[in-house]
């Protein structure tokens, strides 16, 4: 059972939340200008990393607000929760990716 920290409600059990997929996927401002491949990339292609992953969670059975969680996809260790209106720290994710490439 994951213990997920909602930025507003504090640590709660995983069953209160629903998962919203990879964070940071922005809908293209002008879809008509994209090639089919670029549109497919937005719709279907995800980074699916083995290691640090930033993902959206919704506190569906709580305050119903969305936020970002950084979680390791192998160990399930959660590095932190971030509100969508705050700047995300860079290091953990980037360091995780480098470590993964090294092994």
């Amino acid at each position: 059972m994951l213990l997920i920290e909602c930025p507003w409600c504090g640590p709660r059990a995983e069953t209160e939340f629903s998962h919203g997929g990879e964070a940071g996927i922005t809908r293209p401002a002008n879809p008509d200008a994209l090639s089919d491949a670029e549109w497919a990339d937005y719709l279907f292609y995800r980074s699916n990393p083995r290691g640090a992953h930033r993902e959206l969670w919704n506190h569906a059975r709580g305050c119903r607000r969305w936020f970002v969680v950084e979680r390791d996809t192998v160990t399930n260790r959660i590095a932190g929760s971030f509100r969508l209106d705050e700047a995300l720290p860079v290091p953990a994710s980037a360091a995780g990716k480098q470590a993964e490439q090294g092994d």
């Binding site: 994951l2 089919d36 491949a37 497919a40 083995r50 399930n76």
Partner: protein
Amino acid sequence: MQRYSAFSLLRNALGHNRNWGRVWRSPEPKQGYDAIIVGGGGHGLATAYYLAKNHGMSNIAVLEKGWIGGGNTGRNTTIVRSNYLWTEAALLYEKSMQLWEGLSQDLNYNVMFSQRGVYNLGHSLQDMRDIERRVNANRLNGIDAEVVGTAELGKAIPHLNISPGARYPVLGASLQRRGGVARHDAVAWGFARAADALGVDIIEQCAVTGIDVSGGKAVGVQTTRGPIASDRIGVVVAGHAGVLAQMADLRLPIESHPLQAFVSEPIRPVLDTVVMSGAVHGYISQSDKGELVIGAGIDAYNGYGQRGSFPVIEHAMQAIVELFPVFSRVRMLRLWGGIVDVAPDACPILSKTPVEGLYFNCGWGTGGFKATPGSGWAFAHTMAHDEAHELNAPFSLERFSTGALVDEHGAAAVAH
């Protein structure tokens, strides 16, 4: 290869079973091969076997990072069926079903394929409409399927709770009589042995750490046992497909999730068929050893740790107890989680890639075991001819940009 027969059983019994030979060799990797298969699970071994058998290639290596039968092939609920809604999917799985029906003879290895029937339950009026639609679609594709009502269900599966007072009452089911189960380990071992006999090198404890690409063409792989050259590389690694794709600077439209299953303590024969329910989300059969084999769903979030979350276990147990109240006091003996690669349309990807000579067979998600022979058969054709067979042509990577998805996930309303 030492052929298995009643006579060989007798002869070895007289020798106190001390003279059985190795089932497959353990060769050192060569410097290069005509084709390399990355991943020694069922699909990878089947690919190697059909490359050798149907396409006359024998200078092939299968590279497995662990041991044969140690991955998802040895960790699934072993259900085999071909009752898919859409024609593209139905034909691919039906090809597989036809191969299953002759597989033990073909491999000279008993994969214990048991066509004990597969029931997919309906719990609502809409479920039943979907079931009738799917059964009709199956029949139009030449696949056996029938709709059964609760009276027949009650006779065929005496312990199934068909009471109208159930929380999710059972209203009927689809039945594919040719469906059933097979022994998963035997499938891996049988394909490994048969491929080895045709000259395929099965190299265990050999993890691929890099894919060498030169001028847009695949030229070889880096492994924990040294570099191996080949201009034809098939990647069949299920949950880790994305990790392998990254090695060739490719992206795949898949995400990896843990999928869980359990077996109970062995009990006396109580269930002689396979029961699946997409609505309460559980599926169950009984193994020849007497264990109840139970499948759960995937964790909603992606992950590579080979264990799933507790709420998913609880949910599957609730479903099973809802369907079979008699199992409420059966204790679970083992549980395991495997990493499955789920595509957006829950259909596989058997495809060429933008890198010439590099092929991917992935995206089988939660339902790959049943497709093992057909997947290998079609993927071998794709690798041998550098062109998809008509059976797997709809399952290319391009479908995600053309939009021609095979929307089995949304429309079939069946658990995979």
